[in-house]
């Protein structure tokens, strides 16, 4: 009887605890990596943030090769310099590239990764590698993410030959029916990243970062009535790459009275 009461108490306790956590379905293991598990072509329907406010509609540029054997080099100075390079016309501008359009970018060329040899970061060359400069034609893709985050790594592995040592550029438009003051752009990224709102630097995530929701937030800013252009650049050496971004209000609640477009 005593054991029964103990078991019942534990069960009730767990039930009370569970009631405080938002319900969600079990996430069963799935080894597949195809693109449509993560990203699908953006539709013409109006996109809104998900129930937690995450921004899911983005234009993504094919990764720009930027060889780095480790993410520990991503200091503030390094990423500011890396993202200040003018890679393509209209970078950080108000006019968005068209879905499917292509740009020519001069890159430090890396041969496709040979995954049969294990984790690339473990194979250190004895001498600094000199990479061949090559002009590559990179394409913009308009996607809707099926998840709260944007899985850049699977975008790269499914559509391009680059996966490690890369820079990803992303851009979206947040549309507001009226000014929304005192909000913050809250971002998590793997690895380092920088983000701009309407041409102004908003938030910097330096260092060897793992993607964590609401890892870094911008100072308070105003989303203005009409179009607001959000640019992001994510740099990664070896390992996974992705990001998640949303706007939060003063109380930390997600801003959801907005729509997303890629025009």
């Amino acid at each position: 009887m005593t054991q029964f009461i103990k078991t019942l108490s534990v069960a009730v306790g767990l039930a009370v605890l569970a009631s405080a956590i938002p319900a969600r379905a079990q996430v069963y293991a799935d080894s597949s990596t195809q693109l449509d598990k993560y990203l699908v072509p953006a539709t013409t329907a109006v996109a809104t943030p998900n129930d937690q406010g995450f921004l899911g509609r983005w234009l993504l540029l094919d990764p720009i090769s930027k060889p780095n054997r480790s993410n520990t080099v991503f200091t503030d100075s390094y990423i500011r310099e890396a993202f200040a390079v003018p890679y393509f016309k209209g970078q950080l501008g108000d006019v968005l590239p068209k879905d499917g359009s292509k740009v020519k970018v001069m890159v430090e060329y890396q041969p496709p990764v040979d995954l049969s040899g294990g984790r690339p970061m473990m194979r250190f060359p004895q001498e600094p590698v000199v990479y061949e400069k090559k002009e590559k034609k990179l394409q913009w893709h308009a996607f809707d993410s099926k998840r709260f985050n944007v899985k850049l790594f699977r975008f790269a592995t499914n559509l391009t030959e680059d996966r490690y040592g890369v820079i990803f550029w992303a851009v979206t438009v947040v549309n507001c029916e009226e000014d929304i003051p005192n909000v913050r752009l809250a971002v998590g990224s793997n690895s380092a990243s920088m983000w701009w709102v309407n041409g102004e630097e908003a938030v910097v995530l330096s260092g060897d970062r793992r993607m964590v929701m609401d890892d870094c937030a911008s100072p308070r800013l105003t989303l203005k009535k009409g179009r607001n252009v959000i640019w992001g650049a994510v740099i990664n050496g070896p390992g996974m790459s992705d990001f998640c971004a949303r706007f939060i209000d003063e109380a930390g609640n997600p801003v959801k009275n907005i729509t997303l477009t890629t025009k």
């Binding site: 503030d76 390094y78 913050r184 938030v203 964590v212 609401d214 890892d215 870094c216 937030a217």
Partner: protein
């Protein structure tokens, strides 16, 4: 010799400024602190008491007529009920005691409304019974019931119930014995429990006073009050709340002041302060609640700290380039003779190795993994000339080894300025919260009239925002290194 005395004096002064109430906080048996029109008041044995405009600098000036011993005060509605014992606790041999209460609309002796009502007796003891009616303690519980405890070592601590409208004893109410072997009793109420606090040990013996404050608790205001190991306070039980410190002896006469949910203070006296000629002084400490028991925290000591967010555990740091420390990447190689290599001690990264590359002007702050790097190490020091708040002095928070100071900035954000100047936005109120964590609030924020606290708006992004005790974003751990 004179030089040595001077140095000792200067050291003592520095110690006083950081560790104890400043001004002239001399008092014995302080009443629970009461706030009136922005000032704080406490009354003591013998009449009179202390006033403070900020809660840190105290001076004499409070007025309580009647003499006698060990008063207490409580605000009920828009009036103050002040109680005291007209007698002195049997030091002369007799134990006839008399507890009285009186009202005043204000505690400000300069106010035209300042006038005490005629004292009325609410409890007494006769010459040789097992009680000595002194040391009143007042509590109004969450149901609006007003309780009064009293008594001393001679016999029992007793409880009566008063009418909160009149301050008089409820008709027909009979005293109940609730504890023995203590004095300066008072009840407090928290989370469905009544706590009876009393002072044990030797009173009134200066630096040799062993006074200490203990407690038991009960679901019923009339007890039994049981301590943490199951002893009834009527059998002498009691769990320690606060005792002597290194230079302060004889902790007694507890009072509780709730600043706001999660921010509580305990008032008491120390019978002897070694830095003040061994005089009896007022002390205010953070009041913590640990596993359902009250316990006094400590004042923040000057020193070197890491400041860690409760949200994620990240350390507050300057937003500067991370500089890799010496030692290299060891990887996983335990072969090839590495096991036989002798150990060497590696130096931690030093300020001078990295600070030359820091920007000279303002530098933002953020939070990040603590790596014991110079840009993550802070020195927290009281600023004696800056005054304070209830129970603490204002502090400056600078990067260790520098004068670069954490400051509130326009837009209710944060920055570090290259030189501490003493400006209000560079002064910090640091309160230990009831759960043992800390709240850090700038004295002022440029362009903002609200009081806001250091707040984790994201794991790595500190800002300033409204305090909410139920939100870990508002809380920080201070750990000395």
């Amino acid at each position: 010799m004179k030089k040595n005395i001077l140095v000792a004096g200067i050291l003592a002064l520095a110690c006083v400024s950081a560790a104890a109430q400043v001004g002239a906080p001399y008092i014995h048996d302080p009443s629970t602190i009461a706030e009136c029109d922005g000032k704080y008041y406490t009354f003591g044995t013998g009449g009179g008491g202390l006033i403070s405009a900020d809660g840190w600098v105290w001076e004499s000036g409070a007025v309580r007529p009647g003499g006698g011993a060990a008063p207490d005060a409580i605000k009920i509605g828009d009036r103050y009920l002040v109680g005291y014992s007209t007698t002195g606790g049997g030091l002369g041999g007799g134990h006839a005691g008399r507890i009285v209460t009186m009202w005043n609309k204000t505690l400000d002796p300069n106010s035209p409304d300042f006038a005490y009502t005629e004292p009325v007796e609410v409890a007494n003891s006769v010459v040789d019974e097992d009680c000595d009616a002194i040391d009143i303690g007042l509590l109004m519980d969450d149901k609006g019931r007003l309780f009064c405890t009293y008594g001393t070592y001679f016999g029992n601590i007793r409880m009566v119930e008063l009418d909160p409208k009149t301050g008089e004893r409820l008709a027909g109410n009979q005293p109940v014995d609730v504890a023995i072997d203590c004095e300066a009793s008072i009840m407090i109420y928290n989370d469905g429990w009544y706590y009876l606090l009393g002072t044990h040990g030797t009173c009134c013996d200066g630096v040799n006073s062993t006074y200490n404050i203990v407690c038991g608790r009960s679901r019923n205001p009339y007890g039994p009050f049981i301590d943490n190991v199951g002893r009834d306070m009527l059998a002498g039980g009691g769990k320690m709340v606060i005792a002597a410190e290194e230079r302060l002896f004889g902790a007694g006469h507890f009072g509780r002041y709730i600043v706001e949910p999660g921010v509580e203070k305990a008032s008491l006296h120390y019978e002897a302060d070694l830095d003040r000629s061994g005089r009896s002084v007022l002390a205010i400490r953070p009041l913590l609640w640990k596993n359902g028991w009250p316990e006094c925290g400590e004042l923040v000591k000057d020193g070197n700290y890491k400041i860690l967010s409760r949200r994620r555990g990240y350390a507050l740091e300057l937003s500067v380039d991370f500089v890799r420390a010496q030692g290299g990447m060891r990887m996983f190689g335990f072969g090839r003779g590495q096991q036989e290599q002798p150990n060497v001690v590696l130096e931690g990264q030093k300020l001078e190795e990295v600070s030359a590359d820091w920007p000279e002007g303002n530098i933002p702050v953020r939070a990040n993994d603590y790596m014991a790097r110079p840009h993550q190490k802070w020195t927290i020091e009281a600023v004696p000339e800056a005054g304070g708040y209830l129970g603490g002095p204002y502090f400056k928070i600078v990067i260790e080894g520098t004068n670069r100071a954490l400051a509130a900035a326009e837009g209710a954000e944060l920055v570090t300025v290259p030189e501490f100047t003493g400006a209000d936005e560079q002064l910090w109120q640091i309160d230990q919260l009831t759960d043992g964590t800390f709240r850090l609030m700038p004295k002022a924020i440029p362009g903002c009239s609200e009081r806001l606290c250091l707040y984790s708006v994201a794991d790595s992004t500190p800002t300033l925002a409204k305090f909410d005790f139920n939100n870990d974003n508002c809380k920080w751990d201070l750990k000395m290194h």
